[in-house]
């Protein structure tokens, strides 16, 4: 055991970022700042000096044809992919390029995947429990007990995501939509400062979409939200500011109407959508 302790000592370095109160410094500047980021997978430039800033509390929609680099961008922000060049800052204090996934996550960046990934072997309740903000080092996790407030919080989220009845069922047996919700729920449990949401409404019914819309708009303000979505209707329903990605860099940015009337966007998009259709 003593070994394990000495090992978990290595966490000390990051103690100052214990997730409870996220230390992100947004007093003067945006919450997410990307500059001239470039990534290429053997030759092919997935991201091509992309620059993007997201302000604190903003709800930003990112649209763009397949292969525009939306997902890759998220990979970069969450530390899954390392860019060849460029800068990515979370607030003005944290250089995300120097951190790995868990560190970034504990910093307060939550991510929802395109394909809903939940822990199928675990019950819905346990999924949320794991996601909940807590001391996520080894030994604390080993001895962790659920206290009252925590349970309440989980119930709260179960309520919010409409999964209360499923709480004890293994996540594996949930429907696609329910999995989507569960994943969103897990995001909420993390209390992130910045949410990255990849195609949240894929495979959802109309009503579910609306609720998702409400949820996201509701979140905005307290937290910053970045939504990547194909479904234009949905985007329109929530969007305030929209960024259009094309071939790995920003093509246009502005309100929904502005971008929709932007000739380049139309050109690219219609071209695309015809292909897609």
């Amino acid at each position: 055991m003593s070994l394990i302790k000495s090992l978990s000592q290595r966490d000390r370095v990051f103690d100052f970022m214990a997730p409870a109160e996220s230390p992100v410094d947004v007093r003067h500047g945006p919450i997410l700042y990307m500059e001239d980021v470039t990534v290429s997978f053997d030759g092919f430039k997935a991201i091509n000096d992309l620059s993007l800033t997201v302000d604190d509390g903003e709800l930003r929609c990112i649209i763009g044809p397949n292969g525009a680099g939306k997902t890759t961008m998220m990979d970069i922000i969450t530390g899954k992919t390392r860019p060849d060049q460029g800068q990515v800052w979370f607030g003005t204090r944290h250089n995300l390029l120097t951190m790995n996934e868990p560190e970034i996550a504990t910093l307060g960046i939550g991510r929802k995947f395109q394909k809903p990934t939940v822990f199928e072997a675990l019950s819905v309740f346990e999924n949320l429990e794991l996601a909940m903000t807590a001391d996520k080092r080894v030994l604390p996790t080993l001895f962790a007990r659920l206290d009252g407030p925590a349970r309440e919080r989980i119930d709260e989220v179960l309520e919010m995501t409409g999964l209360s009845e499923q709480r004890r069922r293994p996540a594996g047996v949930l429907s696609h939509g329910q999995k989507q919700w569960l994943e969103i729920g897990m995001l909420l449990m993390q209390r992130p400062r910045l949410l990255l949401v990849d195609e949240p409404v894929a495979g959802m019914t109309e009503q579910e979409m609306e609720r998702t819309a409400e949820l996201l708009t509701g979140l905005a303000g307290k937290q910053s939200v970045v939504v990547v979505e194909h479904d234009m209707g949905f985007v329109r329903s929530i969007a305030r500011k929209v960024t259009v990605l094309h071939q790995g860099s920003v093509l246009a940015e502005g309100s929904m109407d502005e971008v929709q009337n932007d000739p380049r966007v139309i050109e690219v998009y219609l071209g695309e959508s015809e292909e897609a259709a």
Binding site: L7, P102, V118, E120, L130, T141, L142, R168, M186
Partner: protein
């Protein structure tokens, strides 16, 4: 307290109950029932059971990493053997000047290899407490170093399995070398007594059997507590969706490392209890074949249900004892067939069948091991 947690689970209560019952039964049949009586259990059989139980503990250790962490270790025999060697070294030192050469300090094999003095790493093993600490520390340290490297660089799946195999293979070759000072191929043997009790008396054998039983019980509860804890759930999460676990803020490699080390220590403990009962430890325990066989026990018993591992270990080894006795040739066929049939038709093992009903009634800790998608 944390360790009492598991006793709330039905499965644990059941397991511990059965185990203790079996132990007392064997003890009574051995001591009370007179020899010659059909029900009498003789020392040989007690000894045999003791061996099975140590194997069972080893299986539990493997199940912990394979079942709950999804790491198929083909090198757990190495940890088992290291624990065994640590114990063996203590037992060797206990022989003292009763070796054939009557040398006060050096084991016989060192004498006829003309070693002047004990090598440094043999120091301290004359003290029981030191040896027993090493039983846990040696395998633990190896697991720590190996695991740290492997998990940090995210070596996973098949690759991990294969290099664990390489690890134990390398160790086997190393221990075969007589220069290593571990008795080479002959290993360590001809033990006399442990903690002052004569290893060749039936009483000691019974004692060892009981000790092993207790160790198994404790080991089981510890594992149960781990997998029952939030950490256990993180492990399962890692097993099923490693990336996701990272994105919600867990440093996966450290959890893997922690569990891996614990498991290695349990394996070491099992080895330490095994050696005095069979009376020899030699490099063949390091052989990759053995490590793979352990995995079979677990697979047969049922992954990710610790009791399954125990069942598997005892079943297979009992079968082995019987078969190699009556029809030696058939044994390898049977073993091989078992490997194939279990993996193909019985992916959840014997326990899978048992747990099926349990799961219906309650979907608690027992249940969530069952969806195994490696």
């Amino acid at each position: 307290m944390w360790l009492t947690q598991p006793f709330n689970e039905r499965s644990t209560q059941l397991f511990i109950g059965v185990l203790l019952a079996a132990m007392t039964l064997v003890t009574l049949l051995h001591l009370v029932v007179p020899a010659g009586h059909p029900l009498h259990v003789n020392a040989y059989t007690v000894n045999l059971f003791g061996k099975y139980l140590s194997y069972a503990l080893l299986a539990v250790a493997v199940d912990l990493v394979w079942g709950y962490l999804g790491i198929l270790s083909l090198g757990h025999g190495a940890f088992f053997a290291l624990g065994g060697y640590a114990m063996g070294m203590y037992l060797m030192r206990q022989i003292g000047d009763r070796g054939v050469y009557g040398h006060p300090e050096l084991p016989d094999f060192m004498v006829f290899l003309n070693w002047e003095s004990l090598p440094w790493y043999w120091q301290g093993f004359d003290m029981a407490w030191f040896a027993f600490i090493m039983v846990l520390l040696a395998p633990g340290a190896l697991a720590l170093v190996f695991g740290f490297l492997a998990f940090r660089s995210r070596v996973t799946g098949v690759y991990l399995s294969i290099i664990t195999q390489a690890l134990t293979f390398a160790l086997m070759l190393a221990f075969f070398r007589n220069e290593m000072g571990f008795g080479g191929n002959n290993g360590l043997t001809d033990f006399r007594d442990i903690l002052g009790y004569n290893l060749r008396s039936d009483a000691t054998r019974l004692g060892l059997f009981l000790a092993t039983g207790v160790a198994l019980a404790v080991g089981y509860v510890v594992c149960r507590a781990i997998v029952g804890s939030k950490l256990g759930r993180v492990c399962v999460a890692t097993r099923d969706a490693e990336a996701r676990t990272r994105f919600i803020g867990y440093r996966v490699e450290r959890f893997q490392l922690f569990v891996f080390v614990v498991s290695a220590m349990l394996a070491g403990l099992a080895g330490a209890l095994y050696v005095p009962q069979v009376g020899i430890i030699n490099p063949s325990e390091f052989s990759p074949i053995f490590s793979i066989e352990i995995v079979l026990w677990v697979a047969l018993g049922g992954r990710a249900t610790l009791y399954g591992a125990v069942i598997g270990a005892i079943l297979v080894n009992y079968a082995k004892t019987v078969f190699t006795g009556v029809m030696p040739d058939a044994w390898l066929f049977a073993l091989g067939a078992m490997f194939v049939l279990v993996t193909v038709f019985l992916p959840k093992g014997v326990a899978g069948l048992l747990a099926y009903r349990l799961k219906r009634r309650r979907n608690d800790a027992d249940a969530h091991g069952q969806e195994v998608t490696p």
